[in-house]
Each structure stands twice: as C-alpha cells, then as structure tokens.
Symmetry: C2
Subunit: 221 residues, 2 copies
DNA sequence: TTGTGTATATCCACTGTTCGGTATACCATA
DNA sequence: TATGGTATACCGAACAGTGGATATACACAA
C-alpha cells in the first residue's frame, strides 16, 4: 500500500475511494472507511464535516487521474482520429474484464444520490464528465471536425456512458467494443468525405498496447 | 388513482413502482410502500417474502409497458427506419423534460444493487434490456440491415442507455436528441449505400406526434 | 532548562434514529 | 370453525454523528 505516510486526510480519501468504488457509497459506512484508513470514526469526523463531504472528496480526487487515463489511451493508440477514439473503448473493455471492475464511479455515485440533485458529489461528477467531453471536443476539432466537433464529442460521451451502464448491467465487456466501433463509424461519417486524402484513417489497426489488467489488485477506473 | 379495486398484491406493486421510480429503491422503506398502498407493513409481508421480492416485482411489472412504449414511439413515427429509431429518442427527450423524470428504473435499480449481482431485480433488468435489444434487432433486420442488424441494435442500445445516464447526470435532455442523431447516422451508414433507392430515408422530418407530458402526474418511463 | 498555554490530532463510548423483518392477536367470511 | 388477510406493537442490527477526554508538538516566557 503506497498510502502509508500520507497526510491523514489523503489516507481517508484513498480508503474511501477503494471502498466506495468497490461497493458503492451507500453500502459503505463511515466506520468502514475509518477502519480501512486505520483510524477511528471520530478522527475522520475531525477531517471531514460529514459523510457527504467524504463522498465529494472521493470523486474530486478521481477527476484528474481518470481524465489522464483517457488521454493516455487516446495518445498511445496508433492510427487516425477515429482509431484513437476507438482505442479508448478498447482499453476500457480491457479494464472492464477485470473481475473487480464496477463501472464508472461518477455515474454510479450520482445514481445513488439521485434524491439530492445538488449534492457536491453530483456536481463533481458533472464537472468530470464535462471535462472529458471538452477535451474530446478539442481533439476532434484539431483533427478536422471543425463545425461538428461539439456534436461528435457529445455522441462519443453518450457511447462512453452507455458502455459503462450497459456493461455493468450485463457484465459483458464486448459491448464496449461495439461502442468503439460505433464511435469510429460516427467519426468517419463526420470527417471530410473523400476529396481530402485522409492520410490517417487507414493506418495501423490500432491494437491496444499494454497487456494491463491481468487480474490482481484494484481495477483501473 | 386507478389502482383502487385491484388485488392487494397489485396495489403494493403499483405503490412500490411509484415510490421506487421517484426516489430509488434504497431511499424508500417498506413502511413507505405499505403506507402508499394504504395498508400496513405486516400485510405487505403477507404478500411478499422480502423487500427484494417487491423490488423484483416492480421491475418485472415495468418490462412489458416499457417495451410497448418504445414500440409505439417507433411505429408512430413517420419516415424510414433511421427516422423511426430517431423518433424513439425524440419522444424520450420529451419524457425526460418532465420535472419528475428520474431516468431508467432498470439501470438505476441495478446500480443500487451492485453489491448483489444475482439479485432477481438485476436479472429482471437484464431481461428487459435484452428484450428491447432483440426487438430492435428484428426491426433492423426487417428494414434491410441483414447481417449487421445485431451490431446496430447493440449500438442503439448503447446510445439509449447512455442517454439515460448522461441526461440523469446533467439534467439536459438535449443529449437525447444528440443520441437520436447518432443513431440515425449509424443506421444510414449501415443501410445499403446508394445502389438501392432508399425511398424512406428522405421522407418527412418525423416530428413527434402527441404533445404528451405537459407537466402533471407521473412521468412516463 | 523548565513551565505554561494553545492548536492539532486522535480515541472510546455513546445517542438517536431508521430499517427490515416478526410475534401475536384479531376479524371476516365461506 | 377454519382459512385468508389485516393490525398493533415490537426486536435487533446498522448507521451517521457527537461528547468529552487525551496525546503530541511547538511557542514563548520565567
């Protein structure tokens, strides 16, 4: 465990992330988080005002790493724009095959807190999803989808969130490859038809690189 | 309220559906369901063995009506295949604009029960989603997407579930129209290119028919 | 060096409440 | 009178949050 000599607050957030991600924010009690962090509930309540604040901190802490992982999957995939986007879904499918994979923490948490629409954790989830969408939008624009980059980014996000939900329900990660295929098709449809020679849309078949996620530890994402 | 002279069991399921759909299965207690049905908890436990059974019955009862609604939205939309599918999303966006709309009960419930993957309610949710996908698949096949009907149906389901999740998070039903646009584009991409004259792909712009969902009562879906 | 004050950080034990589920008794009607 | 259905009152467990005491560390003055 790397979170040994961290500040107490960070250890609490790490413990919360591990438990919340694995079992959901409703099924994990404050006592369990405290125990996982190796301290007492009273100490936890010294660093956080409420369980809701711990939940919000959990999601805020996952925002940047998650976005960075999407970027890595995108940049590390060979091929053109469409293949790079498809690479995200391909790597996601790999991650989803980990036996402990439990879907998207942002989406799941916001569903668990549907009674409290203004909950800070829900706002954190919205911010994260928007950030991913905005990043995608700029990448699409850079690659030539000038006027339609916003629409395309939205549709890819829809496929992404659909993947999370559908795969979590059916426990069948092949849906993610179907989503990647759909994203690729959509992008090809948006790209300038055939007059401009698209030098990248026919490059390497974009095989996922790292053989990650061979079972142990915690799942990515 | 139409559930006045129904058998007790059905009144319980109706009450459960109303409350579970509005506030989630975890935030609604058995006492609340019993009170909503106009009887005591002990009576409820005479008709159901456990709360889990009530939850499962709630989803099982929604399977057929939900599927029927999708079919109606599809058949009642003018235009070709792509436009008919897009009509589903358009009507869904209308439904989602109802202030009390709370997303897809199947997806939400299965997220709330993520700790119990074999839960009968989760199985009911899977069955329902599969049923929608299968129906879509046959419609796609009937309309000419012979070999790719399965893949296309999957991708439409992904857009559908993505819509539910994304719109529930952002509270912005315009994502559903974006999903409908994506579905239309995908289908056009699958349809035989241009050699066969597609007499329907350019028909009426498929405006949603009924002016439904003008605020009161419970939201559809 | 010693003594005192203060802020940070931790813990044990407890409260009040909610919830799923039950024990037991009552009642209506066939 | 026996069966199906309903009601009151209750149980045990789990939970979020708190009261109050304690340990540590550092600042500054005697």
């Amino acid at each position: 465990m790397a979170s040994k000599n961290l500040p107490t607050r960070d250890r609490i957030v790490n413990a919360a992330a591990k438990l919340f991600q694995g079992e959901g924010v409703r099924d994990v009690s404050v006592d369990m988080v405290a125990a996982e962090a190796g301290l007492t509930k009273r100490t936890l309540y010294y660093h956080f005002r409420s369980k809701d604040d711990v939940i919000a901190a959990y999601l805020q802490a996952r925002d940047q790493p998650n976005l960075a992982m999407f970027k890595r999957w995108f940049y590390e995939t060979d091929g053109g724009l469409a293949e790079k986007v498809e690479g995200i879904f391909r790597n996601l499918a790999l991650a989803a095959r980990h036996p402990k994979w439990k879907g998207c923490g942002f989406l799941r948490t916001s569903v668990e807190l549907v009674k409290t629409p203004g909950h800070p954790a829900v706002l954190a989830a919205r911010t994260h999803k928007k950030r991913v969408e905005d990043w995608l939008c700029t990448e699409l624009a850079k690659a030539g989808l000038a006027s339609s980059s916003q629409a395309a980014a939205r549709q890819i996000i829809l496929l992404l969130d659909g993947s999370f939900s559908t795969v979590l329900l059916h426990r069948d990660p092949s849906y993610m490859e179907a989503a990647g295929d759909a994203a690729r098709r959509l992008i090809h449809g948006y790209l300038p038809p055939a007059d401009t020679l698209d030098d990248f849309s026919v490059s390497a078949p974009a095989t996922p690189s790292r053989p990650q996620n061979s079972e142990p530890g915690r799942p990515l994402l």
